[in-house]
Structure formats: structure tokens, C-alpha cells
């Protein structure tokens, strides 16, 4: 498969140095590449080959950064950005489906979540993470990386410039929060 090699490495370094403006430049590139690879993925799927979605993100990373410049640090940075993008895309689809089915976008009452479909679950996770973001932004970001991006604890730590131990502790809180919110109980 042909890879459009680009100057993404420089952009990733700027993200790591705290330059948030660069996200606006980076997102369309990553989005386009994910989409291109997804097309490839679906054709492969039809011919009987399966590519795991996390492998797809890794593939997108290698294409955009270039094999020779690939390293563990900017790979984690890239995956964190891909997680944000995938979250946005999934939400668009989930909302569209919810609208066409005329179901409530978020089953916020006790017990209503049980048995709801995967798309409803994605909407509910997004809602719960928005609320968590108001309380503790880093916990919400870690959950976004883990759930939407499939990042490991170590990868999330690298992307945030913190220790795996800190990520583990924050993830435990975020996971507890997500389950409490999704089960309809919520916290007081």
C-alpha cells in the first residue's frame, strides 16, 4: 500500500511541547489517512483478511511519520490524537443513528442502559466523559485514550508525559466513574 509520507513528525513534536494550536493542523491529516486506510481495511475484509482497528491506527502512524522516523514517543502522541478523532467520528455516527431511530440520545435513568445497543453506549460514554472532564480533565483524557483509542497504560503515560503509575490510578477512577454513570446510578 502506498503511503503519503508527510511532515507529521514535526507537528507531533510540537504537540508534545504543549503547542495545542498544532492539533488543528494535524487532525485533518490524521483523519484523511485513517479514512484512506479504513477503505483499504474494508476491501481486505471482503477478501477474507482482517486487520484489527488498532493495527489500522498503527499503520496510519507509520504512513504519516515514515518508517525511519517512527519511535515510541511520537507513536503514543499520535495514538492519543487518533483517539480524539475516532471519538468525534463515532459520535457523529451514533447521533445520526439515534436521530433516525428517534431514541433518547442518553439513557440517563436507572436501569435504562441495560440492554441498550453499542451505539447508545458510545453516546453514554461520551456524556459521562464530558461530565468527568469538568471534574478532572486528565482522568477524562486517559479514559478517552483507553476507550476510544485503545492505548495501553504505558502509551497513555507517554502521551501525557506522566508515569504509568499515575495513569493507572487515574484510569481506576475513570473506569469506576464510567460504570457508575452508565449503570444509571451516577454519583451524588
Amino acid at each position: 500500500m502506498e503511503c503519503p509520507s508527510g511532515a507529521v513528525t514535526v507537528l507531533l513534536t510540537r504537540v508534545k511541547n504543549g503547542d495545542q494550536n498544532v492539533l488543528a493542523e494535524l487532525m485533518p491529516l490524521v483523519y484523511k489517512e485513517l479514512r484512506r486506510l479504513a477503505g483499504h481495511f474494508m476491501r481486505e475484509e471482503r477478501t477474507g483478511h482482517t486487520l484489527q482497528p488498532t493495527a489500522l491506527v498503527h499503520e496510519a502512524y507509520l504512513c504519516l511519520v515514515g518508517q525511519d522516523r517512527a519511535n515510541w514517543q511520537n507513536r503514543a502522541q499520535f495514538m492519543a490524537i487518533a483517539a480524539q478523532i475516532m471519538r468525534r467520528i463515532l459520535l457523529q455516527y451514533a447521533r445520526r443513528r439515534a436521530a433516525s431511530k428517534r431514541v433518547a440520545p442518553y439513557p440517563g435513568k436507572p436501569g435504562r442502559f441495560a440492554g441498550a445497543g453499542r451505539w447508545e453506549e458510545i453516546l453514554a460514554v461520551d456524556e459521562a466523559l464530558r461530565r468527568l472532564n469538568d471534574l478532572a480533565p486528565q482522568q477524562a483524557r486517559i479514559a478517552e485514550m483507553r476507550y476510544f483509542g485503545g492505548l495501553s497504560v504505558e502509551e497513555a503515560a507517554e502521551a501525557l508525559g506522566t508515569s504509568p503509575r499515575t495513569v493507572k490510578r487515574d484510569w481506576a477512577v475513570a473506569k469506576g466513574w464510567l460504570h457508575a454513570e452508565l449503570s444509571g446510578g451516577g454519583l451524588e
Binding site: 487532525m27 485533518p28 483523519y31 485513517l34 479514512r35 484512506r36 479504513a38 477503505g39 481495511f41 474494508m42 475484509e45 482497528p53 488498532t54 489500522l56 478523532i85 475516532m86 468525534r88 467520528i89 463515532l90 459520535l91 457523529q92 455516527y93 445520526r96 453499542r118 451505539w119 453506549e121 458510545i122 460514554v125 461530565r131 469538568d134 471534574l135 478532572a136 483507553r146 476507550y147 476510544f148 485503545g150 490510578r169 481506576a172 477512577v173 473506569k175 469506576g176 466513574w177 464510567l178 460504570h179 457508575a180 452508565l182 449503570s183 446510578g185 454519583l187 451524588e188
Partner: protein
């Protein structure tokens, strides 16, 4: 829930997680004292943390029509 309250909740929750499972209930009861709402929150978080992780939604992304018709306003 306020950010200040959340710090308190997470502090007690994390301390409880460090205890052996059998000692958690007593620990939480002592740590929360007369604050029954705090105790309920910690118990919910502990129950949630013990659940299996939510399955990744990436297969949904791949099985959607992402590659053909991207949502226009996604970015």
C-alpha cells in the same frame, strides 16, 4: 459534584483500592464517617472499578460507512 468534592471522593477511593478487598468496607465506613453520600459514591466507584473494561468501539467504527461517507461535521 464539584471539582473540590471530586478530589475528596477520589482520595478516599484510591486509598480504599490500596486495601485488601476484605478490609475495604470497614475502611470506607471509617473514612467517610457521617458523610453517607460520600460513602455511597465510594461504594459505586469501587463496584464500577471491579467491572470488566468496556469493549472498544473500534469495530463499530470500522463497520460503519466511515471510509465511504464521512460525517461532514466530524472535524
Amino acid at each position: 459534584m464539584t471539582p473540590e468534592r471530586w478530589v475528596r471522593v477520589t482520595d478516599v477511593f484510591r486509598a480504599a483500592l490500596e486495601k485488601p478487598v476484605g478490609e475495604r468496607a470497614t475502611f470506607v465506613e471509617n473514612a467517610c464517617g457521617s458523610d453517607a453520600a460520600l460513602r455511597r459514591d465510594i461504594e459505586r466507584l469501587l463496584a464500577g472499578e471491579a467491572e470488566p473494561s468496556l469493549p472498544s468501539p473500534l469495530p463499530e467504527l470500522m463497520s460503519s460507512s466511515f471510509s465511504k461517507t464521512p460525517p461532514r461535521s466530524a472535524l
